[in-house]
């Protein structure tokens, strides 16, 4: 009975939301700030990828908040899962293919990850996507050799300093008399790698932070003991 009500209510809510959404003019958004940003982004941020200029320029503090959320959840997960238990003995090693594949893939993935990060202001992709790939790169050896330990100290160093540098870049702008997180050093070479001033630096910070965060999160997950 209760479940039926739940289903009906969820369906009803969906139907009503749909009815409301049907009042929207799909495909012709007002784009009040969208078109404005589109017009000014190249001059103001120097990034060809306008999404990047929004993420790291116009709404940089959102991104900072988002990094903080990821950090908060990693810290919380650390608090919840407590100190890591080494349960390597109970786990079987990955097969040969996985192992060798892992060691082969590692440099490749690192390269791809950094590539994506550094081209975030030009092409789709950026710190988050690259960061995930970096995390995967770190994580792969762990999957292949469960006994292997990630270097947690260095991970947490990266984690802390990457996040801090994002803020410090922002504060640096303030020192220069500009606003917090204001993009600087914009070159007039749209489409080039060094066109977007501090934006790629920010993305690098994001990428490193996301990568380190996720890697430590995953390793923490994999190293918690399984229930008997």
């Amino acid at each position: 009975m209760g479940s039926l009500t739940g289903l009906l209510f969820a369906g009803g809510l969906g139907f009503m939301l749909l009815a409301v959404a049907s009042g929207l003019d799909f495909g012709a958004p007002p784009m009040l700030i969208g078109s404005e940003i589109q017009a000014h982004a190249p001059q103001q941020t120097g990034a060809a990828n306008i999404v990047t200029s929004v993420v790291l320029g116009y709404r940089a503090i959102d991104t900072l908040g988002e990094l903080s959320i990821l950090f908060a959840s990693a810290v919380s997960a650390g608090l919840v899962l407590g100190r890591r238990h080494t349960t390597a003995g109970t786990q079987t090693k990955g097969g040969f293919i996985l192992q060798s594949g892992g060691s082969l893939l590692f440099p490749l993935m690192m390269t791809i990850g950094f590539y994506i990060i550094f081209h975030g202001h030009l092409t789709p992709g950026g710190g988050f996507q690259g960061g995930v790939i970096l995390a995967a790169a770190f994580f792969l050896p762990l999957l292949a050799r469960p006994g292997a330990r990630l270097h947690h100290k260095s991970l947490s160093l990266i984690e802390g300093f990457a996040g801090a540098s994002f803020i410090l870049i922002g504060l640096f702008a303030m020192l220069e008399g500009k606003a917090f997180l204001q993009p600087m050093l914009i070159q007039d070479t749209l489409g080039q790698l060094v066109s977007a001033g501090t934006l790629p630096l920010l993305y690098l910070a994001v990428g490193l932070k996301v990568g380190a965060e996720l890697a430590s999160l995953l390793s923490r997950l994999i190293q918690t003991e399984a229930p008997q």
């Binding site: 958004p29 007002p30 320029g57 116009y58 950090f71 919380s76 919840v80 984690e159 996040g163 917090f180």
Partner: protein, 491 residues
């Protein structure tokens, strides 16, 4: 320097990121960096306030003019709450020195940063981000007590809050689809033309329910008794005292600036009334102090929601007064509850063991039920005069419920007070009687002193609040301060 205000958000974040690293190198620096940052934050806000702050101002982050970039909107209300956040962050700072303290402290710093952001931000999605940050930090701190019950309670809270976020995000999506902007001032400009319809209302209600989870809005507050019973008392005090008020502040800003429809106010009113009824009645039967406080805070927030539902921002002063009053009193009561956990029966004779604590409890209770010279009375007075001025029967129902709830409140609060002052059961040893002592008692005394100071200075405080309320409810002032100008429209 007004732009330094950004530092009240940025520095705690910086501190949070670096704390785990610092902890590895120097424990002393790590231990004191958090409080130092918060002291600096307090000072920054206070300095701005004292240096003749009169006109609200808007700080553009990243140097992009408001509707494009994100801005902080700084008026007296926002400053007041920003100050409260930094101060309470300091008061409730987890001073411990174990392996996990770095994590806990960095979560606390994140919570402070997020709360400050909630108080200051002038952008809808940015508010959402800070809201989520506060939520995640809360989850971490709530589960940090490490008991199984705390994990279950946190998970239940997390899922409820997650669903709330989905609804909020949906509401934001609706608003953005309709108007194409996220800046509150810009939305306030566009709202009469574009959001004054059922779509706007739906968006508001979705956001209301989503954010209401934190603001202890009636049916989505079932996490309250669970979390407050399992989390550390300091966290509960921070959540009940401050974070709920910040969520409320967001709803209030949305209501004042953007959604003027009477239906929005009515929904809030009805849910507020139900919240008062359910919270106060549930508290009446609570057998344990923390639960009693949890339920009572649901009831109190219901009262604030009732005040918020008054049309045309009339309830602004009442909301402000009730919220600040509740902030002081509930924090103090939670600090007392820190040592007075357990069944209420166990508290018999506690007044002898800790007279100061018992006196504080009675004072807080008196203020909570609105005994005249104490601040609670004035807050309630402002509310009921505004409520009685309304013609709609629903508001009068709210008034009646409010008055009756106060009676129930007095009944259960003073039952506890009577227990404190009664003689202990004959077979209890004096060591078994819980005492209120040490840091928690000192903190509670701090809030007690604050309350008495407000009671003595009620006239200037009242004038100040009136000025703040008048400034906050001035929509035109908000718009002109931010002055969101967009040259091109949609093409």
């Amino acid at each position: 320097m007004s732009t330094n205000l950004v530092l009240t958000i940025a520095l705690p974040l910086l501190g949070a990121f670096l704390l785990p690293v610092l902890m590895r190198s120097s424990v002393a620096i790590a231990l004191w960096s958090g409080p130092a940052i918060l002291v600096y934050g307090c000072w920054t806000v206070a300095e701005l306030w004292l240096s003749g702050f009169a006109q609200p101002l808007s700080i553009a982050i990243g140097g992009f003019a408001p509707p494009l970039g994100i801005n902080l909107y700084v008026d007296s209300l926002a400053l007041l709450f920003a100050f409260a956040v930094q101060l309470l962050g300091l008061v409730f700072w987890p001073f411990t020195l174990d392996q996990e303290s770095a994590r806990r402290q960095s979560l606390m710093l994140l919570l402070v940063a997020a709360s400050t952001g909630l108080a200051l931000s002038g952008d809808l999605f940015n508010l959402y981000v800070f809201y989520e940050l506060a939520a995640v930090a809360t989850f971490g701190l709530a589960s940090a007590s490490g008991s199984g019950a705390a994990y279950v309670a946190t998970l239940r809270y997390l899922i409820l809050s997650g669903i709330g976020s989905v609804l909020t995000l949906f509401g934001i999506a609706l608003i953005y689809s309709q108007t194409g902007t996220l800046n509150l001032a810009h939305l306030a400009q566009l709202a009469p033309a574009q959001l004054n319809n059922s779509l706007g209302l739906t968006a508001f209600l979705a956001i209301l329910i989503g954010i209401g989870v934190k603001a202890e809005l009636f049916p989505v507050n079932t996490w309250v008794p669970e979390i407050y019973a399992t989390a550390s008392t300091r966290l509960s005090a921070f959540l009940a005292g401050l974070l709920s008020k910040l969520a409320l502040l967001i709803i209030l800003r949305l209501l004042l600036l953007i959604f003027h429809q009477p239906e929005a106010a009515q929904v809030i009113l009805i849910l507020g009334i139900l919240g008062v009824i359910s919270g106060e009645l549930a508290a009446w039967r609570a057998k344990e102090m923390k639960r009693m406080l949890a339920f009572s805070s649901i009831g109190q927030l219901g009262m604030i929601f009732i005040a918020m539902a008054l049309p045309d921002g009339k309830g602004m002063l009442a909301v402000l007064a009730l919220a600040l009053h509740h902030l002081i009193i509930k924090s103090g009561l939670f600090m007392l509850a820190e040592d007075w956990g357990g069944a209420l029966e166990r508290l018999r004779g506690s007044a002898k063991a800790s007279p100061l604590g018992a006196v504080l409890f009675v004072l807080f209770s008196l203020s909570l039920v609105g005994m005249p010279p104490l601040p609670g009375f004035w807050a309630k007075f402002v509310l009921i005069t505004e409520l009685a001025a309304q013609v709609e029967p629903l508001y009068l129902l709210g008034l009646t419920v409010f008055l009756l709830a106060t009676v129930v409140e007095a009944s259960y609060l003073f039952r506890i007070a009577a227990t404190l002052y009664s003689n202990p059961a004959p077979d209890t040893l004096s060591e078994e009687i819980p005492k209120s002592k040490g840091l928690s008692l000192a903190t509670a005394s701090l809030f007690g002193a604050g309350m008495i100071a407000v009671a003595l200075l009620i006239a200037p405080v009242g004038d100040g609040l009136q000025a703040i309320a008048a400034q906050a409810q001035d929509v035109d002032l908000y718009i002109t301060t931010v002055s969101p100008a967009v040259s091109g429209g949609s093409q």
